[in-house]
Every structure is written in structure tokens, then in C-alpha cells.
Amino acid sequence: MIRLRGVTKIYRSAEVVALRGIDLAIDQGEFVAVVGPSGSGKSTLLHILGALDRPTAGEVCVDRTSLGSLRRPDRFRLRTVGFVFQWHHLIPVLTAAENVEVPMVPLGAPRRQRRQRALALLERVGLSHRAGHLPSQLSGGESQRVAVARALANGPPIILADEPTGELDSETGQEIVRLLAGLDAEGRTVIIVTHNPQVALAARRTLTLRDGRIVDDRGNFN
């Protein structure tokens, strides 16, 4: 359960107001698409939800925990959210399996257990045969699937995806969307920022942002 009250974000260096008094509630297990033109504040919203960035004003609560009061935001990111980015953002010197293991390292799981879980997650995204490959040896779609597996590494209840299909052709993009939609069926909350109307249609709720405000919030009954 995510609650935002009056969330405003001003980038002082550029005097840009990215978000203006956002009020929002997202229930557990929702699959939400956030759409809107470039610069409307979509990515900022996602970063704030993932405690990568702090709002200038207002409050964000996740399961009654106010993100502003977190002493260790890294712990929150570790256990509660999984990020998927536009560029897959894998670490180039690590293999697919090692990349999936990265978020497990701070939790101190033994190496063998980490590896087993990484392989299981790769299998789930259909890439068990690519476990030992470096990101440079993977296609864009494969890399993005590894990124999804990495986001699931610590079993977080919330998945935040920032233009996950932006760099992919439409067919590969649809694969990723199906993968993310499947996560919502497991009871995870999935929030996906996208330009692509087709991707947005896969979600059950679409938020439209313009100039830092939510101008539309509707359910998709497809």
C-alpha cells in the first residue's frame, strides 16, 4: 500500500518543478502505468517511490512507513523495491547470473544459495541457458529480462519499471510487459513508466502526468 500526500519536487539547480502536490494511493497488487509527455515528472515520481530521491515537500508512505523518516533508505530499496530501467543497467563485467546476485550480496546469503536463487530467477525469465554470459553477449531483450530477474532477487513487494521497453522492438517489449504483468498476478505491486500506449494498456490502471500533476487516473477494463 503506497500513499502520497502533497508530494512536490523542485530541482533547485535548474529551478524545475518536476512534481506539484501529488496525492495518490496505490493498493498492493495493482499494476499501474504512468504515462505523459517527456518532462512531465514520471521518472521523478518513480525515483521518489523507490527512495532513490526525496520529495521537496509532502509525504510518501509505503505500508505505513514514511520514506522521509527512513534512516537506512538502502535497506528499504534492498527489501521492498526492485528497479527495472530503460537501459537494462547491468554491470558489464558480471555475468547474467552474477548480475542477478548483486542485490542479494548485502543480505549475506551464502554464495551457493545466491547462485541457486539467481539461476531459478533466470529460468523464470527464460534465460537459464544464458546464465554465464556477459551483458555484452546478450541481446537487448535478454538483458532486460536479466534486469527483471535482478529486480526480483530479494522478492520485493513493489516493482518499479522506468521505460523498460523504451529500447526494445515492439515484440520484445511485449515479452517484457507480459513478464511484468505476471508479477502483478503474484500480488506484487507493479508501477511502470512508459511512453508506449500499448504498454499502458496492459496495466489495469493508468495515471497521466502533465507538468508535474496527475491529470487523469483511470482503470483499464480490458
Binding site: L52, D74, F83, W87, H89, I91, L94, V102, P103, V105
Partner: protein, 367 residues
């Protein structure tokens, strides 16, 4: 995880390791030579259990290499002092045989402890009735290609080689010994001696004997053998110079590590962003970078120690008449390793700290 960046970025890793290795190697070699030299000289003057070395008091401001030139009567006077178990006179003369071959000639009492402790590898020991003959140290003999029965020419005199010895002290193994009387005659020293080694016997009485000697002979000073090696021959200056050069080499390698790690941090800004996004704490990320830097410097240190020790070995084989120690004291090796790791911590810290200042949102945009 830690090792992946090191093993999968081979070129940069090997360049950094090489940089550290060269500076640690030169440190090991320089300190090995200078500390080895101090050890050698101490061994020469303190061998056969002499605790004290008696030399002429230094004229003011004159320190370098001054070995003194004492009248022979001091020797008899020392032998008469209570508490002195033995007083052994010694004449030390640096000789230049060729441009490459510089060696020390020891004028010794043929029946004294210096000669008695030598191991003869061919020929014979000096005898009390010997005239102007020499015994050659093993390394000197090898270096000059001389054997028993050959003639060497020193100070215009032709001297037959009576024997070849090994003492285990390379300053001696690279030199020659001849009877005290012959050395004095050859070099016009009359009854003078360079120094007298004094054995006290009872270690608790060393201070008393020192005071007694200096009271009896105002022109001489009795110092412990180690002090002698360090201060009188100004080897301390050589050690300090070696340290100074080493410090410069080490600073350079700190810069090399810092540069490598700073490049790494810049190149890996996005990676830092990723690690922050997936929930790594900043402390853990600093640890990752410091760890990488320590592994680099540790490997560099090991390689450097190998290079330095190898260089010393080559030097000691190549210049047989010069007293390069062939091996390095374990303390120097341990120190060098410590220095290498220090280099890693210092060189790695600033870039690692810089890594924690990264704003994850900005870092993730970096491509």
C-alpha cells in the same frame, strides 16, 4: 564480486599492479642494500664477540668515512685496563684495484680472532711469521679470477695470495686480509691502527669499560659496534637516502593507485548508481572500491618484493667484490608489504569516498 572487476579488466589491472610493483621493488632493493650494508659493517666490527670499537675521537665536523688513525700504544694501554678481556687492533684500507673493483684490505693480527674464525676454502691461513702476503675473500677471488699462488698488486707492491677464505660477511668476502705489520709497512702507517675491537666479556660492565677507556685516552672514543657502523661510516646517511628515494617512489605509486581508482570511479559512476538502486549501502560500496584497491596493491606488493629481491640477487652476483647482500631481511619484506597495502588504502580511499557522494538518480543517467 570483488575480484570480477580485477580479473575482467585485465589491461588496467596489470598496469596498476606493475606500477605498484616497480615502486615497492625499488624500495625493497634500496633498503635491502643500505640496511644490508649497515648489517655487514656491524658484523665486521662486532664479530668474534667484540662489544666495543675504539676509534680516534672525531675532529669536529669531520664524519664521513673517518676511520681514525690511532697510535699503536693505545692497544697495549687497552689490554692493561681492568675489564678488558681482549683488544684486537685492525687496519682498514679501502683499495681501488681497477675501476670496477673496490675492496677493503684488513690488516689483522695473524694469530688474532679475525683470522681464526675464517673458513679456508683453499690455501692456508695467515701465520705470525708471514711477510707481505694476502688472503683473498671468496667473492674477491672469484671477481678478480685469482687463485692461491697468484699475485695481486696493491699500492705498487706485488703480493702473493696465500689462501682463499669465506667468512659469511660479504664485506670481508669481497676483500682481503694481510698481516697487520705488513699492512702498516706497505702503507707507511708506522705503528698506527684504524680501530681496536674490544671484548669486555661481562655485558654488565660495558658502560664502565667505555668510561674507563675514554678517561684513560682522551683522544679516543669507545662506542658500541653497532653505533660505529651506523654513525662513523655515515651509513645512516645512505639508509636515509634510500628511505627518501623510497618515499618518492611510494608517493608515485599512491598517485598511480589513486589515479586508477579515480578512473574506475568515473567510469563506473553508472555502476555505483545501479548498486545504490538495488539497495547497496554507501559504506558497502566504499568497501568494494577499497577492497579492489587493496587487492591490486597486495598483488603489486608481492610482485614488487619479487622484483626487488631478484634485483639484489643479480647485483650481488654481478658485482662480486661489492658488498651487496644477496637476500633481504624479513623485516624489510614485511615492511614493503605493509607499505604496499598502505598505498592501496590511501590511494583507494579518496576515489572510494568520491563514489559515495554520487547521486544515484544522476548516476543512473550516465551512459
Amino acid at each position: 564480486m570483488l575480484l570480477r572487476n580485477i580479473t575482467r579488466r585485465k589491461l588496467r589491472t596489470s598496469l596498476s599492479i606493475l606500477g605498484i610493483a616497480l615502486s615497492i621493488g625499488s624500495t625493497v632493493a634500496l633498503l635491502g642494500i643500505s640496511l644490508g650494508l649497515v648489517g655487514q659493517v656491524s658484523a665486521v666490527v662486532s664479530e668474534a664477540g667484540s662489544e666495543l670499537t675504539v676509534v680516534q675521537r672525531l675532529p669536529k665536523n669531520l664524519t664521513f668515512g673517518y676511520l681514525g688513525n690511532m697510535p699503536g700504544e693505545v692497544v697495549e694501554g687497552l689490554r692493561a685496563l681492568p675489564g678488558v678481556a681482549r683488544a684486537t687492533p685492525l687496519v682498514l684500507l679501502p683499495a681501488t684495484l681497477t675501476r670496477e673493483i673496490v675492496f677493503l684490505i684488513y690488516g689483522v693480527e695473524p694469530d688474532g680472532p679475525e683470522v681464526a674464525r675464517l673458513k679456508i676454502t683453499s690455501g692456508r691461513r695467515l701465520r705470525p711469521d708471514d711477510g707481505p702476503v694476502v688472503m683473498l675473500g671468496r667473492r674477491a677471488a672469484d671477481g678478480m679470477g685469482k687463485a692461491v699462488g697468484d699475485i695481486i698488486s696493491i699500492g705498487g707492491r706485488e703480493l702473493p695470495v696465500a689462501g682463499i677464505y669465506r667468512s659469511g660477511v660479504s664485506l670481508q668476502d669481497g676483500g682481503a686480509m694481510m698481516p697487520l705489520a705488513a699492512a702498516r709497512a706497505l702503507f707507511g702507517l708506522q705503528d698506527r691502527v684504524s680501530l681496536v675491537k674490544v671484548k669486555v666479556g661481562d655485558p654488565r660492565r660495558i658502560r664502565d669499560v667505555q668510561d674507563a677507556i675514554e678517561a684513560r685516552f682522551p683522544d679516543v672514543t669507545a662506542i658500541t659496534s653497532e653505533e660505529f657502523a651506523r654513525d662513523r661510516l655515515n651509513l645512516e646517511a645512505a639508509v636515509q637516502a634510500a628511505w627518501a628515494i623510497s618515499v618518492i617512489a611510494l608517493l608515485l605509486s599512491v598517485l598511480a593507485v589513486a589515479n586508477t581508482m579515480a578512473m574506475t570511479v568515473l567510469e563506473r559512476t553508472r555502476e555505483i548508481g545501479i548498486l545504490l538502486a538495488v539497495g547497496w549501502s554507501r559504506v558497502r560500496i566504499v568497501g568494494l572500491f577499497l577492497g579492489e584497491s587493496l587487492v591490486l596493491s597486495g598483488l603489486g606488493g608481492l610482485l614488487g618484493i619479487g622484483l626487488g629481491a631478484g634485483a639484489l640477487r643479480l647485483l650481488s652476483e654481478g658485482y662480486q667484490t661489492l658488498p651487496f647482500p644477496a637476500s633481504v631481511a624479513p623485516a624489510v619484506l614485511a615492511g614493503a608489504m605493509g607499505l604496499a597495502l598502505g598505498v592501496g588504502v590511501i590511494g583507494g580511499f579518496l576515489p572510494a569516498w568520491q563514489a559515495t557522494r554520487v547521486d544515484p538518480v544522476v548516476a543512473l543517467r550516465a551512459v
